[in-house]
Symmetry: C2
Subunit: 340 residues, 2 copies
Amino acid sequence: MSGRVRIVDVASLAGVSTATVSRALSAPETVGRATRDRVMEAVRATGYRVNGAARDLRQQRARSLLILAPNLANTFFSRIFSAIQEEASAAGLAVQISDSRIGREKLVSLGYDGRADGIVLLDGAIDPDVVNGWRLPMIQLCEWNEAYRAPRIGIDNAAAARMAVEHLADLCHRSVLHVSGPDGNVLAVTRREGFSDGVAARGIAGTTLAGDFTLEAGACAARRWAELRPRPTGVFCASDECALGFISECAALGFGVPDDVSVVGFDDIDFAHRFLPALTTIRQPREALGRAAAKALVNLLGLAQVADPGDPAIAPTIVVRSSTAPPPTDDSRVATITLD
Amino acid sequence: MSGRVRIVDVASLAGVSTATVSRALSAPETVGRATRDRVMEAVRATGYRVNGAARDLRQQRARSLLILAPNLANTFFSRIFSAIQEEASAAGLAVQISDSRIGREKLVSLGYDGRADGIVLLDGAIDPDVVNGWRLPMIQLCEWNEAYRAPRIGIDNAAAARMAVEHLADLCHRSVLHVSGPDGNVLAVTRREGFSDGVAARGIAGTTLAGDFTLEAGACAARRWAELRPRPTGVFCASDECALGFISECAALGFGVPDDVSVVGFDDIDFAHRFLPALTTIRQPREALGRAAAKALVNLLGLAQVADPGDPAIAPTIVVRSSTAPPPTDDSRVATITLD
DNA sequence: CTGAAAGCGCTTACAG
DNA sequence: CTGAAAGCGCTTACAG
């Protein structure tokens, strides 16, 4: 596990105590010049590197952040992880990741085993007793749970959903469908509320179908949408994956986007601008979110080098591309089918 | 960092030594029934949990795996990470991730600081001196470097590339383009070799354009392809991202896939089957790869609970979808432009 | 400026 | 079956 050579080896080679070696390495200015040179030479000669595990135990910290996410395979997290890791690394912290669905016992241990200084929580569905039982600084990111005693970072999901509705309404859609996230999920609930508010504010018709953010949920929703009478001409999906699944299945069903139906997504994942059609979506600035969470946590740990990071404006924006357009002017298709 | 209560607290509450508490927890059968009950009661009463950091130092291990990847934001890794984490968790190991481009000094430390028992390397471009300097069990996954002294897990990239060419040739394409990865990259080199071999074996024309696996590289390649005379009718991209970028840009340029040009990707990322058109691609079983790497590393650490995991066949396969078809029979478009 | 000693929180031979 | 003691590899008051 550790490299072979320990601090005592360096000390004896340099003819000093381990205390001096330790100081020469971590606070060189407190050691006499000649001694320091001797120690450094011994360090070089032996290839010594401090054993972080031992140092951490002694200093009662872990120099490590733990990221907890509901599904590590979800590509939505990639950019967030990379941003967190960058900030953590800049603050001298390692990053540990774990799926938050590993089972209660393992989960409890994670926050208790002295191997993390703080936690970034991307899951709002963990038992609050577990979360609040951890005695570690925590930040909730993107998802949240009112019951967790930890600050939150994320976008205004209701406002974001309203933006999607606004966009569709501005395009003159009078009937819109929302393919939401799963019932228990805070993001799903909040976006759904924003959708309802937006629809009410514009006086247009709104329907909701529960999905689960996935490609397949979107595809499934497209099949259900095709059976609706009249068919909503605008669709707001609670995730880009869902939107892409919806559009893809529409194509299979013979409907074109945006000719037959307009679709707006949520997240602005990397592929969104390269999809065919390029996806109109609500942009969630994932890198900024990850960075902000990491910085906030570093602050909580009292390790901040700089002053307050100055809240980077983490506001959702709508990016309009090619998957939305005014509703079809020719209602023949709908009319024909309705008359059958 | 640690929970408040330590093993001594439990010991004194139960009226036993810390040694007994330790045994009662980790080897209950070695402790008298009455004593054990008393200890367990004290554990319950205090809410004691062992401090993993202390245990690790004592036992000279870290109970942790380190994953090193060239860019954590790359969504290709998501499923690999999740598979590794699952296997690691099953073996009682935590997982630490780091970008492998964090700078030489930090990188060296990572393998030396006693906080990882083993490493999964997804980057073949790290200085071999750094890698071989680590005294930890390692596994190379997907990417590799001959100079690293560590076993490799991955698919046969040359064979995979040949499969792509075979498919195109079977469809009667006589001229194919390969959009490769960057020059220094092993995967790029190996796939390019497979491409060349395949093309030679089938006696068809092959051209190569260097890219870098990204969406934008694919888009850029599409622009270059459009200027080629004659235009290859089949294209093999070294990654799905690249292929999607290529197809997307083709659409912008007024070319249809597969009507004007057939495109095959590499990886079979999650979106591949939902893209429009659904992408024909070489499937790289990322979950199996991650799992195999984690298992191999666990074996190397001597922690395997089960016998040999039995090599799960990690063979690439081609999955044929809608982005490939026979070349256009009508050569008018090419002819017309050529005549200009 | 430097060293002897204690201690971070555990586990594990070694005795009994 | 249980305990006293050493020790994992460091750092850090405390003296001098």
